[in-house]
C-alpha cells in the first residue's frame, strides 16, 4: 500500500447502484487512477468519502476477476445516507485499501467454512467468488449465511450461481421466517450440523455482529475446530485507517492496521469481552 493511496482520495466514478434490501445497496465503480478490483485483497477495506461530510470504512465486496470495484453499504448514518443517494456517473472519494485480509493461503486444500451474518457477507463475497472461480482451491466450501428476515438477505441474485458451483454448498437461514420462506429458521449456528463440517480439516472465516461471532466461535470450538483455524473480521469506529487516531483499538490491537481479519487466538482475551 502506498503512502499516496493511504492519504489522498482517488476519484471513484459510480457505474451502477444495485438495491439489495430496503436499506442496503451495492455501489459498482471505477477508480480514476486505473486500479482494478485485483489491487484489493479479499477482507481489506476502503475509506469512502463524501465531499464535505466525512468518511466511512467499508469492506471490499468485489474480487480480482471483476470489472468494477464493489462496496455493499447499509444506510445508517450521515455519510452512508448520502452514499445511498449516489447515481451512475456520480463521484465518491476513495482512500485505501487498508488492513490485513482473509488468509486464503491457510485455507488452501482445506474445507473452507464461510460464515456470515447480515452485512458480514460483503467482505466474504470475494472469498466465495475466488473459491468458485478456482474449483479445487479449497477442499469444499460451505457458505453459511444468516439474516434477520428473508427480506434482509443480500446478493439473492447470486444464489443460483453459488448453489450450482462445483464444490460450493450454500446454506441460508433467517431469524424470523415469512409466509413464502421454506428454508431454515434460526441463528446461523443452527446450520452447522447440516453443513457436514469436518473439524479435522476445516478453516473458518467469520464475519457478522459480535454476538453471532461469539456463538459461532463457541460452536466451532465444541465441534473440535482448533482456535488457530478460526478467523474473524472485526468492526470498529475508524477515522484515519492508518493506526494513529486510536478509535479502532481493541486492547493492544489496531483493527485498521493489524486487522480487520484476525486469527481467533490473536484477539482472544479482548474479543468478545464487554467494554474493551
Amino acid at each position: 500500500m502506498s503512502r499516496q493511496t493511504m492519504r489522498t482520495f482517488t476519484r471513484g466514478t459510480v457505474r451502477g447502484v444495485r438495491k439489495e434490501t430496503p436499506d442496503t445497496f451495492t455501489l459498482h465503480f471505477d477508480l480514476g487512477d486505473g486500479r482494478t478490483p485485483a489491487d484489493f485483497m479479499p477482507g481489506q477495506f476502503n475509506m469512502l468519502y463524501v465531499f464535505g461530510v466525512g468518511e466511512v470504512p467499508i469492506s471490499v465486496a468485489s474480487y480480482g476477476g471483476e470489472k468494477h470495484l464493489m462496496h455493499t453499504i447499509r444506510s445508517v448514518g450521515r455519510v452512508t445516507n448520502l452514499l445511498a443517494a449516489l447515481a451512475s456517473g456520480s463521484s465518491v472519494g476513495v482512500r485505501g485499501p487498508f488492513g490485513q485480509g482473509w488468509p486464503l493461503a491457510e485455507a488452501k486444500g482445506k474445507q473452507l467454512l464461510v460464515i456470515a451474518g447480515g452485512l458480514g457477507l460483503p467482505p466474504l463475497r470475494p472469498v466465495i467468488e475466488e473459491g468458485i472461480a478456482e474449483p479445487g482451491r479449497f477442499d469444499g466450501m460451505k457458505v453459511m449465511y444468516g439474516a434477520r428476515t428473508p427480506a434482509d438477505l443480500i446478493y439473492t441474485y447470486e444464489y443460483p450461481r453459488w448453489h450450482a458451483a462445483d464444490g460450493c454448498d450454500l446454506l441460508l437461514t433467517v431469524d424470523r421466517g415469512a409466509s413464502d420462506w421454506k428454508g431454515n429458521v434460526g441463528v446461523v449456528t443452527t446450520l452447522f450440523p447440516k453443513a457436514r463440517i469436518d473439524p479435522r480439516r476445516a478453516v473458518a472465516f467469520i464475519c457478522g455482529p459480535e454476538l453471532m461471532l461469539k456463538f459461532s466461535i463457541l460452536e466451532l470450538a465444541k465441534m473440535g475446530v482448533p482456535a488457530e483455524r478460526i478467523f474473524v473480521s472485526l468492526e470498529r469506529n475508524m477515522s484515519c485507517a492508518t493506526g494513529t487516531c486510536g478509535h479502532c483499538q481493541l486492547g493492544p490491537l489496531f483493527i485498521c492496521r493489524d486487522g480487520p481479519v484476525f486469527s481467533y487466538p490473536k484477539v482472544r482475551g479482548f474479543f468478545p469481552r464487554e467494554g474493551v
Partner: protein, 374 residues
C-alpha cells in the same frame, strides 16, 4: 563532556537558537499558569515562580531564586508536534472530482527550551506511536524533524510527579541536545558534539568533580522527594490480570469523563478527522483534532457502542498506558509527569488507580465477563 556556565548565558543561548532558525518554545507565564509557549525573546521565559500542584489543583506559589523554578504546566511538546488542531488538506469539488488545493506543510524547526526529562521521554514515546514503519504520520514527522531539546533535569519533584518509578526522570538519560542541571550559582551543562554551535559566544568551563557531585545530589534529592509511585515489577502483565477488578467501577464513579487527563497527557495521541466547509468558496478543510477515549461516542459505530459504560472508558485510558501500550509499541504510555492528576477536576490519581487495581486483584468480584469463550 560536561561544563558549567553562568546563569547569565541563558539569553545568549535562546538567541543562538533563534539565529539558527529555531522557533524557541519554553515555559512562559500566561493566565496564571506556566505554559509552554513560543518565546518571543529571553524575557518571556517564566523564571523564579514555583508551581504548587496537588490532585485537581494548580497554583503559582512562592518565588524562587532559580531560573528553572517550575516543574511542569498543562502543556507538553505534544501540543506542537501533534497539534490539538491541524489542517490536513484543503479540498474543492471540481465538477464531481475532489481536487486537492493544499496539503499539510511545515518547515518549522522547534527548539524546546527548558522542558523536563519526562517530556523528552514523552516525545520518544510519541516517536513510537506516530512513526510506525510504513504508517508514519506525515504531520508529526514534519514537525518533529529537526526539533531540538534543551532539557532541564529536575532538582525538585512536583507534588504529583512519579517519573522515578517509571524510569523516565528526574534526569534525562539520552536523546537530548542539551541537558542542564541548575546548581545554586551556575548551570551544569552536558551536550553531544552536534550541539556545540548552540554555545557560540558562551563561556563554558569544564565542570569540577565537586560541581558534578552537587548536581547529582540535587537530582537525587528530587527522586527521593517523589511521594507517588507505580509498582516497578512488570505492571503490564499484572494489569491484564486485573481487568475485572471492581476498582475500575469505583474510580469511574468519580470520573466526569471530561477528557482533561487525555488532553494534558504528553503521549495521548487519539484524534478525529472532521470536515469544515467554507461557505465563501465551498472549499472543505479536513481538520484533525484531538479526541479522547473518555468521550462517550469515541468508539460508537453502526454495530453499537462497545464502551458505553464510563468504567469501561476509564479502564481503556489506564489499561492503554500501562498494559496495551507495551504490547503495541514496546514502551509504557505513561512517563510519570503527573499532569492527569493535577488537571483532573475531581483529582483522580492514576497512581492510586494502578496500585489499587493491582492490590485488589485477588478475590475481585467478576463484574465483567472474565474469560474468553474458547
Amino acid at each position: 563532556m560536561r561544563f558549567t556556565a553562568s546563569k547569565d548565558c541563558i539569553p545568549s543561548l535562546i538567541r543562538n537558537l533563534e539565529d539558527r532558525g529555531y522557533t524557541v518554545v519554553g515555559p512562559s507565564l500566561s493566565e496564571g499558569v506556566v505554559r509552554l509557549r513560543e518565546l518571543k525573546g529571553p524575557a518571556d521565559l517564566a523564571t523564579g515562580v514555583v508551581d504548587v500542584q496537588a490532585p485537581g489543583s494548580y497554583a503559582l506559589g512562592r518565588e524562587s531564586p532559580l531560573v528553572f523554578s517550575s516543574v511542569n504546566g498543562p502543556d507538553s511538546p505534544k501540543g506542537y508536534l501533534h497539534p490539538a488542531e491541524v489542517g490536513l488538506s484543503k479540498l474543492v469539488d471540481d465538477g464531481g472530482s475532489i481536487e486537492l488545493v493544499s496539503g499539510f506543510h511545515s518547515d518549522r524547526k522547534y527548539a524546546f527550551f527548558g522542558i523536563r526529562p519526562c517530556d523528552l521521554r514523552a516525545v520518544q514515546v510519541m516517536d513510537r506511536t506516530m512513526l510506525v514503519p510504513g504508517f508514519e504520520d506525515h504531520v508529526y514527522s514534519a514537525l518533529r524533524n529537526g526539533a531540538v531539546f534543551i532539557v532541564v533535569n529536575c532538582t525538585r519533584a512536583g507534588e504529583n510527579c512519579f517519573c522515578a518509578s517509571m524510569g523516565t526522570g528526574p534526569s534525562a538519560e539520552s536523546g537530548y541536545d542539551v541537558a542542564i542541571t541548575e546548581l545554586p550559582e551556575k548551570l551544569l551543562i552536558e551536550f553531544p558534539e552536534r550541539s556545540a554551535a548552540m554555545f557560540e559566544g558562551i563561556e563554558l568551563k569544564p565542570a569540577t568533580k565537586e560541581e558534578l557531585r552537587t548536581g547529582e545530589e540535587m537530582v537525587q534529592h528530587a527522586k527521593e522527594q517523589m511521594g507517588r509511585r507505580i509498582p516497578e515489577h512488570d505492571p503490564s502483565k499484572r494489569m491484564y490480570a486485573a481487568m475485572d477488578s471492581p476498582m475500575w467501577g469505583r474510580v469511574a464513579d468519580r470520573c466526569l469523563a471530561c477528557g482533561n487527563c487525555t488532553m494534558v497527557c504528553p503521549t495521548c495521541f487519539c484524534n478525529t478527522i472532521i470536515d469544515r466547509t467554507d461557505l465563501r468558496d465551498g472549499s472543505v478543510s479536513r481538520v484533525r483534532v484531538w479526541e479522547s477515549c473518555l468521550s462517550k461516542d469515541f468508539v460508537y459505530s453502526a454495530g453499537g457502542n462497545p464502551r458505553l459504560q464510563r468504567a469501561a472508558r476509564y479502564r481503556q485510558f489506564v489499561m492503554h498506558k500501562f498494559a496495551y501500550w507495551p504490547d503495541e509499541f514496546g514502551t509504557y504510555g505513561c512517563v510519570g509527569c503527573g499532569r492527569c492528576i493535577t488537571w483532573c477536576p475531581v483529582g483522580i490519581d492514576i497512581t492510586d488507580t494502578v496500585n489499587s487495581v493491582l492490590v485488589g486483584q485477588e478475590g475481585a468480584e467478576k463484574k465483567m465477563e472474565a474469560h474468553p469463550v474458547v
